[in-house]
């Protein structure tokens, strides 16, 4: 993989008049969040976050309100400057940019979509979309052509001359997305873009956005408080709590190996059918006692949904293959436990884990780092 497009290294953000002193105390004496508030009146928004997003990846940051996710994303285009740490965008340290260069970066290379749309009410849809180009002093004919093109990408042809208030919430947010795409930036910052929309429109826009981001190969940082949304859209997900990244991984990683109880609480209601793959729940072939010939076969990357189809059809154990070679098997009970997951019956997850995953659950829980990630498991952008 090439240079990361977005790279954050040890980023801290402390809010308050005495942020510098508080930062020193955090560094020197290792004081905590409550102590910083009590002694310096400072709020710690982001704590020692490091992350890298490669080109074309959709990276979701999930957390509840107050977890610091919106603060974190604003560091990428320096709407907020870090108290400590460095941020490199497209290989350049953005703290070193002067005002003019920073404006150039924002206008030309980073598009942003906001939770509350933040469209200018006095400008037409077309002029709203063209605004990033207007700032770069692009000629009006060119601006209009580009904005009509991107409005076409988000299915808003015919609404160019309307005012934003004449559009529904979902349409307004599509205008927001078109505006972010107008200057063809490498990076998209999405700050809870679909949170204020109703569920059906949200689902529709999520799919539309995912397809668009993949086809346009945009490197995307996507903020959400909804794990379903993160799983649906993200190639990788970071879970944030109290300014710290609790866990970073693929959706399957996070569902199969939650780093702690906090993450575990989140994944409780998540459907695993499309998420968990055969190689995550299979038993090694050596334990299989019967004859493998004639049994249905499936690739290790096949999801549970597909496995159910296979077993419903044949009522037999499924042999899992990796590159055409048999590597394991999934029996009916394993499949059912796999669908159920480590957590069933509310609070009895230890027991469920033992039954369903043969003790591997303990491993995932004990160490924060998932060690069972297999090459075939990583989602690639081209899979759509």
């Amino acid at each position: 993989m090439s240079e990361p497009i977005v790279k954050l290294s040890n980023v801290w953000k402390v809010f308050g008049a005495k942020a510098r002193e508080a930062m020193q105390a955090i560094r020197g004496e290792g004081i905590g969040k409550a102590e910083a508030l009590r002694r310096f009146g400072c709020v710690v928004g982001v704590r020692d976050v490091s992350l890298e997003v490669p080109r074309g990846e959709i990276f979701c940051i999930m957390g509840l309100s107050g977890s610091g996710k919106s603060t974190l994303i604003r560091h990428v285009n320096r709407l907020i400057s870090p108290t400590s740490g460095t941020i490199e965008i497209l290989g350049r340290d953005i703290a070193a940019l002067n005002e003019r260069e920073l404006r150039g970066l924002r206008a030309g290379h980073i598009g942003m979509v906001f939770q509350h749309m933040a469209l200018m009410p006095h400008r037409s849809v077309r002029d709203n979309v063209a605004y990033p180009l207007e700032i770069q002093n692009v000629s009006k004919s060119r601006r209009w052509a580009v904005s009509d093109h991107v409005l076409g990408l988000v299915d808003l042809k015919g609404y160019e001359d309307r005012l934003p208030r004449e559009l529904s919430g979902g349409m307004q947010q599509r205008v927001g997305i078109a505006r972010a795409l107008a200057s063809d930036p490498e990076i998209l910052l999405m700050d809870e873009p679909f949170s204020a929309l109703d569920p059906l429109i949200r689902l529709q826009l999520q799919d539309q956005f995912k397809a668009l981001a993949v086809s346009l190969k945009k490197t995307t940082l996507f903020i959400t408080h909804d794990l379903d949304e993160a799983i649906r859209i993200g190639d990788r997900i970071a879970i944030m709590k109290d300014g710290v990244l609790v866990q970073v991984g693929t959706p399957e990683d996070i569902v199969m190996n939650p780093a702690d109880d906090y993450v575990r609480a989140f994944i409780k209601g998540i459907s695993r059918l499309k998420l968990v793959k055969a190689h995550s729940i299979m038993q090694p072939l050596s334990r299989f006692g019967g004859v493998a010939d004639g049994l249905p076969r499936a690739d290790g990357g096949v999801d549970l949904d597909r496995l159910i189809d296979l077993q419903v059809g044949s009522d037999q154990t499924v042999i899992v293959t990796e590159g055409g070679r048999d590597v394991g098997f999934v029996s009916k009970s394993q499949l059912l436990r796999g669908i159920q997951g480590g957590e069933h019956g509310g609070g009895e997850h230890g027991q469920g884990g033992e039954h369903g995953q043969g003790g591997r659950d303990g491993q995932g829980r004990g160490h924060g780092t998932p060690d069972r990630r297999r090459p075939g498991c990583v989602r690639c952008p081209d899979r759509g």
Partner: protein
């Protein structure tokens, strides 16, 4: 909320136990000394459902304002200090005062004069002259003295009634104090729970001392002043002359006359020293005024009328255009055309300068919190200071005539456009500003593309307000030589010419309405 579960079927509000011990501890913590008493009293208040719970605070009743001060219940302190002082004044008047003293004095004086006339009558008789005139006078004055004496006696016999009233009032006040002390203190406790640092709690010696000092200063002097007839003059009127003579050796000089003289000298010196600067301002204003006057009065009247009517039509629609034509016809037919246009030029020049200076100032105040905090009192001053107060220094610096009049108008008319511009700028949603910044907008572009367009409705309201306030100054500036319709009104005021005043006033009203309708209409069309 979860519905009641099966394990707890009778859970209902009525069965919930009240945890008195925690509340009592909190109340005791609030009250400090005598905490147990207040815990019990507040519990009775909390348990009662009537208007006035049956608690009586004996110490509050006996000590009155002293109790309230020590407990930090300052509202109650002042209320009951005043009531108690009223009661004590009645008691004082009843027991030591001399209610009929003035009449008694008068009666004695009248007696003396009657006696004098009797003496003269006797002298006249002794001299053999006619004494009837003196006798009649002496008789009349004597009966007047009797009447005064009767009034004085009545007043003196009323003293006992006053004493009784005073005692009854005091008793009533004490009763109310005792009854209300605990409920009021409980209210303070409730507030204290919300803001323990800013609401007074406990019994503080400092508060008690402050209360005692206040009572000692207020009560005795007041009772003395109302009770003793002919009390010291120093208490009735402020002895400023005596203080002045103590300060200055010169017996004629007072603090007032000296300060006023110094201010006079200062203003005169400044007017002389900065004459060039003030003349420059006058000249600048005059240039704008002359240009507007030429445009409105130099241009042939049919052209001006046509332009105004067409503007009204284009900006605000046909109805306003018809009204404008009718109003202009009134102004022209009653011979006010020339002066009305002069007025419009005056107001126009003032409003123009207000907007040119006010909008940028408003933008600045809208973005800088510190500037806003500094400017707020100045703007208040500009709006509340009576115009006559700043007319005087304006005359000193700028002389008389139209330009100083415009300056006075600006002082009064500028605050609305500044305030409403700042309000509009502050009201621009943060999210939209953030979005523009995120797309690379500079500070200037942010102002031009986002802040000013979104603040425009507010700014236009400010402009309209400013125009109307400028128009309301035309009569006042005619006092310092301003022309136009204001002069017509001033003349009719001087000669009590009622008809002229009404007709001139209507002309001003129509000018105001035309300006207002056109500006508002123009804005409404744009906003729609």
């Amino acid at each position: 909320m979860e519905p009641p579960t099966d394990a707890d079927p009778d859970a209902s509000a009525a069965r919930i136990e009240v945890d008195h011990s925690a509340l009592a501890a909190s109340i005791a913590g609030f009250a400090g000394p005598n905490g147990d008493y207040y815990a019990r009293a507040f519990r009775r208040i909390h348990d009662s459902s009537g208007m006035l719970p049956a608690t009586f605070n004996v110490w509050a009743a006996v000590l009155g304002p002293f109790w309230a001060a020590a407990r930090g219940v300052w509202g109650m302190f002042w209320a009951f200090l005043i009531l108690e002082v009223v009661a004590w004044v009645q008691i004082g008047r009843g027991s030591w005062g001399n209610p009929g003293a003035a009449f008694l004095e008068r009666a004695l004086a009248q007696r003396a004069r009657a006696q004098a006339f009797h003496d003269r009558a006797a002298a006249a008789r002794a001299a053999g002259a006619d004494a009837t005139q003196f006798e009649t006078l002496a008789r009349n004055i004597g009966s007047a003295a009797d009447r005064s004496l009767a009034v004085a006696r009545d007043a003196q016999s009323g003293a006992f009634a006053i004493l009784l009233t005073g005692l009854a009032l005091l008793l009533l006040v004490k009763l109310v104090q005792g009854l209300y002390a605990n409920p009021v203190y409980e209210r303070q406790y409730t507030n204290w729970r919300i803001a323990p640092t800013s609401v007074e709690s406990g019994r503080k010696p400092v508060n008690a001392a402050l209360g005692a000092v206040l009572v000692a200063l207020v009560a005795p002097l007041t009772v003395y002043r109302f009770t003793v007839s002919g009390a010291a003059d120093a208490l009735s009127a402020f002895p400023e002359k005596r203080i002045s003579s103590a300060l200055f050796a010169d017996p004629g000089a007072t603090l007032f006359s000296k300060t006023a003289a110094r201010l006079d000298a200062g203003i005169d010196a400044a007017a002389l020293a900065w004459a060039g600067f003030f003349d420059g301002i006058t000249h600048g204003i005059n240039t704008i005024l002359v240009a507007l006057t030429v445009a409105l009065n130099g241009t042939p009247w049919p052209v001006v009328m046509l332009v105004i009517c067409v503007t009204a039509w284009r900006a605000a629609g046909p109805r306003v255009a018809v009204f404008t034509a009718a109003a202009l016809a009134y102004i022209a037919l009653f011979g006010y055309w020339q002066v009305a246009m002069e007025t419009v030029a005056l107001v126009g020049a003032a409003a123009l300068i207000c907007v040119l200076l006010g909008v940028p100032l408003g933008v600045w105040l809208g973005t800088s919190r510190r500037a806003a905090a500094l400017a707020e009192p100045v703007l208040d001053l500009m709006q509340t200071l009576p115009a006559f107060v700043y007319l005087i220094p304006i005359i000193a610096f700028f002389g008389t005539g139209n330009p100083p009049g415009i300056l006075a108008t600006i002082v009064f008319g500028m605050p609305p456009v500044i305030r409403l511009t700042a309000l509009g700028i502050q009201g621009v949603p943060e999210t939209i500003k953030e979005a523009a910044t995120a797309f690379g907008a500079s500070r200037f572009r942010l102002l031009k593309d986002v802040e000013l367009p979104l603040a425009l409705p507010s700014i236009m309201t400010g402009v309209n307000q400013t125009i109307l306030m400028c128009l309301s100054m035309v009569v006042i500036i005619s006092l310092i030589g301003g022309g136009g319709l204001g002069k017509v009104i001033l003349e009719s005021l001087q000669y009590a010419a009622k008809g002229q005043g009404i007709l001139g006033g209507l002309a001003i009203l129509f000018c105001a309405m035309i300006l207002d309708r056109i500006v508002q209409g123009a804005f409404r069309r744009k906003g729609a």
